[in-house]
């Protein structure tokens, strides 16, 4: 990952910047939304403890510590993924996010909440992402 940052930097004009976005290590929230309410059901967990996000944080920390890049500004914001049914969500997870899993207690709670909420409900995965601007330090410009 450090190599990827350096490779990207080598493709830039003088004064160029790197923008990097990834999800924070915090586990995403699983919520049931209806027209009237947003109910927290539990968290999506990862059997590798969100290793990719952790490694991305480490790589950025490393290039900053090495004095190669500096963080100019950063923004943390919320992202959403919405599914019409619980099965749709688990199918999507199976296809795109192998390490993610929903603990059994949360699974039961989601199914129960959907049953109580009726057809108008949707399952929402609420994630937090960070966008960061990285610039070369003066000695590398």
């Amino acid at each position: 990952m450090v190599h990827a940052l350096r490779k990207a930097f080598s493709s830039l004009n003088p004064g160029g910047v790197i923008l990097e976005v990834h999800d924070l290590v915090d586990p995403p929230r699983i919520e049931i939304h209806t027209n009237q309410s947003e109910i927290f059901a539990g968290q999506l967990l990862s059997d590798n403890n969100f290793e990719n996000q952790r490694l991305a944080d480490q790589a950025i920390g490393q290039v900053i510590e090495d004095g190669f890049l500096l963080s100019d500004q950063a923004l943390v914001y919320e992202n959403y993924l919405r599914a019409d049914t619980f099965d749709s969500l688990t199918d999507w997870l199976d296809e795109t996010w192998e390490s993610a899993y929903i603990p059994e207690g949360t699974r039961r709670k989601v199914i129960d909440l959907i049953a109580k909420s009726g057809d108008e409900s949707e399952v929402v995965l609420r994630m937090v992402s960070r966008l960061m601007e990285l610039k070369p330090t003066p000695k590398f410009t």
């Binding site: 490779k7 160029g16 910047v17 969500l89």
Partner: protein
Amino acid sequence: MPVIDDREGISAKIIQEFFDFSDKRVLEIGCGKGRITMAIAEHSSHVTAIDPLAEDIQTAKQNTPGPLKGKINFIASGIEDFNLPEGSAKFDIALFSWSL
């Protein structure tokens, strides 16, 4: 709607509010199916968008609206294997979208 992944749409909007892409040459690393690519291409000078998944690159090319086709160059490649095409100018922005 089985699943609607709002992440790229929300992020495309946030990224453009966060940074001025006007007249910038952009390298997007990990472009996937090109949703963020197309959003930023509207405002930038040119976008080179790379992703190691050739299938996603093919989908991105097919989904690109006509007016943007001349502003985006999709290439199936990871950043480690990517080499600037000979004679091409360097970039003003490198964007890693969930790809570091």
